[in-house]
């Protein structure tokens, strides 16, 4: 069931939030052993929030479309008093002293936070295999990865362990797992949603967004998340439309560009076919579909894997055993405490990226790597600008393949990085993009990516909604 369906039942008092929340915890108890989507479950907290939601629903005061709805939060967003681990040993027992802005908004809206979902450690990864605690499995095929890094959130929604979820997206971490798990995932425009309380991976790329079963829920959740936050300097003071109201209206005359550079070599044949079919449907529904080329996209992965690790190496310096989190207590002096704490606290992928980023920023290499990447970032942005001179939205696969097998790419970081080819350019340009189901291959979902102009979430949501209304993909359920 989706949030908008459940909200109607809650409002009509046919169902209480407490009953709903309990039913979700029952389902979680049944499935979680197989899916492993959650790092932390908070049944006590959730039931208290549900009771409060029921009071609001009964008195009809402060009722929002999300009041009483069970939601899962990726475990890299701070929840006051509820441990926030980033799936890292270094934050195993970290209980944030404050709520992230998005979490505060969820609480104010009366949503019920059921728990914190698994991710690749510090959101670094594309498979949720880089968690210090557990590997999350794809509800459609438990031998496959759910994608990453928001794999826990995507798997929880796909498996029906949560109605909706929050993810974060730095290079595709919402859209790729949404694609792999057959759900809807939206990365908003950079600056649309506050990052305050999102544990930083790469600050100039990170953005929080919804992971939901359908486009309507996506719009509902975005309504709550979007908007300026004085605590985040990079959040933008731009008007926020009511996204749910703009879903209908169709896509007649909409100019849609199919990105040819993401329909060539390296993209799975069946994925390409599904995306092509989706583009054809857009045309049949009245959109004007053309092919566009963004020649610098082939440089996006290299650009990203210099910028993101550079920022990460800086953002992750603070995990040093002094103020919070894990510390090696045997160390006799400060320097060896630093070394041992960070050696034991971080996993391999995080260390790899800290090394890469430190190198890219270090004396003698800054210009050749980091600065060069920033300049190429400008070129990629310009390519998008040119494409949007001709188009209102762009289409591509969300990922080059469907979900791969667990363990398949863990030994080859570069090939893992290349699986983000379709999503990474969007983060570099700061644009909004969503992924929604557009087919299946070998029993696994295929994701269609729709990219919009900066701050034009409206258009891509409307395009996605129109597509969804004319297809059945979103109705398919994973059978865990």
């Amino acid at each position: 069931m989706t949030a908008h369906e459940l909200a109607a039942r809650l409002a009509g008092r046919k169902l209480s939030s407490a009953e709903l929340t309990r039913s979700f915890f029952e389902r979680i108890k049944k499935l979680e052993e197989r899916v492993k989507a959650f790092v932390t479950l908070d049944e006590t907290g959730a039931l208290a929030q549900a009771a409060e939601a029921d009071r609001r629903l009964k008195s009809k005061e402060h009722v929002t479309p999300l009041t009483g709805i069970p939601i899962a939060v990726k475990d890299n967003m701070c929840t006051k008093g509820l441990r926030t681990t980033c799936s890292s040993k270094i934050l195993t027992d970290y209980h944030p002293p404050y709520d992230a802005t998005v979490v505060a908004r969820l609480k104010a809206a009366g949503a019920v936070i059921i728990g914190k979902t698994n991710l690749d450690e510090f959101a670094m990864g594309s498979s949720t295999e880089n968690s210090a605690f557990q590997i999350t499995h794809n509800p459609w095929n438990l031998a496959a990865v759910p994608g990453g890094s928001s794999g826990g959130s995507a798997a929880a929604v796909a498996a029906g362990e949560a109605v909706i979820a929050l993810g974060s997206d730095t290079g595709g971490s919402i859209r790729q797992p949404a694609a792999f798990c057959g759900v809807v995932g939206l990365k908003p425009t950079y600056g649309r949603v506050s990052r305050y309380g999102l544990v930083a991976f790469a600050s100039s790329l990170d953005q929080i967004g919804p992971i939901t079963r359908d486009v309507t829920d996506c719009a509902l959740l975005l309504n709550l998340l979007a908007g300026h936050d004085p605590l985040d300097t990079t959040s933008v003071e731009a008007p926020v439309p009511d996204y749910r109201r703009v879903l209908a209206g169709g896509i007649k005359k909409l100019k849609v560009g199919l990105i040819s550079d993401l329909m060539g070599n390296g993209i799975d044949r069946e994925v390409k076919a599904a995306v092509k079919k989706a583009a054809d449907l857009f045309a049949r529904l009245g959109a004007e579909v053309i092919e566009v080329s963004l020649p610098t996209l082939e440089y996006a992965v290299a650009t990203y894997y210099l910028i993101a690790p550079a920022e990460a190496s800086s953002n992750l310096a603070r995990y040093d055993g002094v103020k919070f989190g894990y510390r090696n207590k045997e160390a006799k002096d400060l320097i060896s405490m630093y070394y041992s704490t960070r050696r034991e606290g971080f996993g391999a992928e995080v260390k790899r990226r800290i090394m890469l980023g430190t190198y890219a920023l270090s004396a003698g290499y800054y210009d050749a790597y980091y600065l060069k990447a920033l300049k190429v970032r400008t070129l990629i942005k310009r390519d998008f600008d040119r494409a949007f001179d001709r188009c209102d939205a762009l289409l591509s696969p969300a990922a080059p393949t469907v979900a791969f097998k667990t363990g398949e790419k863990t030994d080859d970081p570069l090939s893992m990085y290349l699986s983000d080819i379709a999503t990474i350019p969007v983060n570099l340009a700061g644009l909004p993009a969503l992924s929604l189901p557009c087919g299946f291959s070998r029993g696994l979902p295929i994701g269609l990516q729709i990219i919009g102009r900066a701050f034009d979430e409206e258009t891509i949501l409307r395009a996605a909604f129109t597509y969804e209304q004319n297809t059945e993909w979103h109705k398919a359920q994973a059978n865990v």
Binding site: S314, R318, Y366
Partner: protein
């Protein structure tokens, strides 16, 4: 070689804590002396997920300073992250400015032996301060068993002012720092207390053969906690360089610490870790592009700069250099000008109150208060900079905890207004009060907060200028001192002083001195 003449080249980096209410990037109070780790929040302790937001006032104060230093405000400046691991730096990077600072290319005029010298300012930029470390088991970091971190100071707005290598002697360096400190205080951007650490200074020093244009190898000197220490430290380092060169040796580029006790500098033991700060633009903050209108407003708010005011006071008000300096750097010009506007008299008269009389009055109050509480007062509550005695300053620095305990017992603020000052001069000029009585009246008014008139009426302190009344007293005095009267009549005019004194005694100081002499002459004739 030994007698070869060398020229000393010095450049200074001055760090000034800005007088804002809140910290640079968060809303924590920017306050000295709170109990450890009470002025902290998720942002200034670097909690995961927290983000900085720039304090507008800090930017304004830095722009104000930069303008006063004749700098160009850069149309676009950016914050950058400077990385190094240290426990007093919660994020293990400091938000600072690097390639694009707030302002560049200015100068500051200093005066040495009556000669004015222009010292170039390379740049002015903004950054955040680090926390404080307390070393357990030893006074210093060396030998300590462990250290404790207090993040109260973390995130305090800090302005760095970098000079060109234009200084040619330790004395010039000290004069530069002092002039700069005075300017910062005058502008109200920093209280510039070196002993408290609100103004800190690092120096780069090198020597080169006289006439040479290339720089010699420099060393960086740190840990200079007063203007005097700057001069001493740099003199010691200058001497050390000269000795090394005289022996035909080579100066090693390194950081050296000044020891206040031995008055020598020493390098760090072992090999110095080569720093690689890995600066990159701070992605969490956006560029500063101060609109011209704002800069203009700030500029208009600066008004006359100290050097101009001092020159004017010397010329127009006929005040000495020392007095003009004092008024300017103790922020007393407003009071003086205000009083002059209300009642025009010789500026000297007002200046004397502010420079001579009030400090001695405050010292009296201090003594009284100290006797009462037997403890030195917390400095932040004190009304004027000169009130703080050295002992109190040291006590505060050594043990700020103790200061917190006594912070409740401080002096009331001096309620001296330009209006009061003008009124007292008017009363003197009008003959109502003698200078001596005026002093009593003014101090009583300040102490009690009452109006001058009320004090005068209450204590019956009006000057006696009634000739008839004074003549009566004069006759009485002459009658009681026949011997002195004889001496006067015999031509010993100096005895008049004695009679005036007797008159004052008889009237409890209320007799108008001029009239008293006149009436005495009449009584003696």
């Amino acid at each position: 070689m030994a007698n070869m003449k060398h020229e000393t080249v010095i450049g200074l980096e001055v760090h000034a804590q800005l007088l804002t209410e809140s910290k640079m990037f968060c809303s924590c109070p920017n306050k000295f002396g709170a109990p450890p780790n009470t002025n902290i929040c998720p942002v200034c302790t670097g909690q995961p997920g927290s983000l900085p937001v720039t304090n507008k006032k800090a930017v304004e104060l830095a722009i104000k300073t930069a303008l006063a230093l004749n700098c160009r405000i850069e149309p676009s400046s950016v914050f950058a992250r400077k990385h190094y691991f240290y426990p007093d730096l919660p994020k293990d990077y400091q938000i600072s400015q690097y390639e694009q600072p707030l302002a560049t290319g200015g100068w500051l005029e200093i005066e040495i032996d009556g000669q004015v010298k222009k010292i170039g300012i390379t740049r002015v930029h903004l950054e955040e301060d680090a926390g404080k470390l307390v070393h357990v088991g030893a006074a210093r970091i060396m030998g300590a068993e462990e250290s404790l971190v207090d993040f109260n100071r973390t995130g305090t707005p800090l302005m760095e002012i970098v000079s060109e290598p234009d200084l040619r002697s330790p004395r010039e360096a000290a004069a530069y720092t002092e002039t700069l400190a005075n300017l910062l205080r005058y502008l109200g951007v920093c209280d510039a207390k070196m002993e408290e650490g609100s103004l800190r200074c690092d120096a780069n020093l090198s020597l080169r053969p006289a006439g040479e244009t290339k720089f010699g190898t420099k060393t960086e000197v740190k840990n200079m906690n007063s203007f005097r220490a700057i001069e001493k430290a740099l003199a010691a380092e200058e001497k050390r360089h000269a000795e090394v060169l005289a022996e035909g040796g080579q100066v090693v580029q390194e950081t050296r610490f000044f020891d206040d006790v031995t008055e020598t500098t020493s390098g760090m033991r072992g090999k110095e870790f080569a720093h690689d700060y890995r600066y990159f633009p701070e992605p969490d903050l956006v560029p500063l592009e101060p609109p011209a209108k704002w800069t203009e407003e700030i500029k208009n708010g600066i008004g006359e700069l100290p050097r101009t005011v001092i020159a004017r006071y010397m010329k127009e008000y006929e005040l000495s250099r020392e007095w003009a300096d004092f008024l300017v750097y103790h922020e007393l010009t407003g009071c003086l000008e205000g009083a002059l506007k209300i009642y025009k008299t010789k500026p000297f008269n007002y200046a004397r109150w502010l420079i001579v009389e009030l400090p001695s009055f405050i010292a009296e109050l201090n003594k009284e208060a100290a006797e009462k509480s037997n403890i030195n007062k917390a400095k932040s509550e004190l009304p004027h900079p000169w009130v703080i005695e050295d002992a109190a300053e040291k006590a505060a620095e050594d043990n700020y905890k103790k200061n917190i305990e006594v912070s409740g017992k401080s002096l009331p603020k001096l309620n001296l207004t330009p209006a009061k000052l003008a009124e007292i001069e008017k009363l003197i000029d009008g003959g109502t009060l003698s200078y001596k009585i005026a002093k009593t009246v003014l101090f009583a008014a300040i102490k009690t907060g009452k109006e001058l008139a009320a004090i005068i009426a209450q204590q019956g302190l009006t000057q006696i200028s009634d000739e008839g009344e004074l003549l009566k007293v004069a006759r009485e005095v002459v009658k009681n001192n026949p011997r002195q009267a004889e001496q006067y009549k015999g031509g010993k005019e100096a005895v008049m002083m004695f009679f005036v004194g007797q008159m004052m005694k008889a009237t409890k100081g209320r007799a108008n001195p001029e009239l008293a002499a006149k009436m005495l002459k009449q009584a003696l004739s």
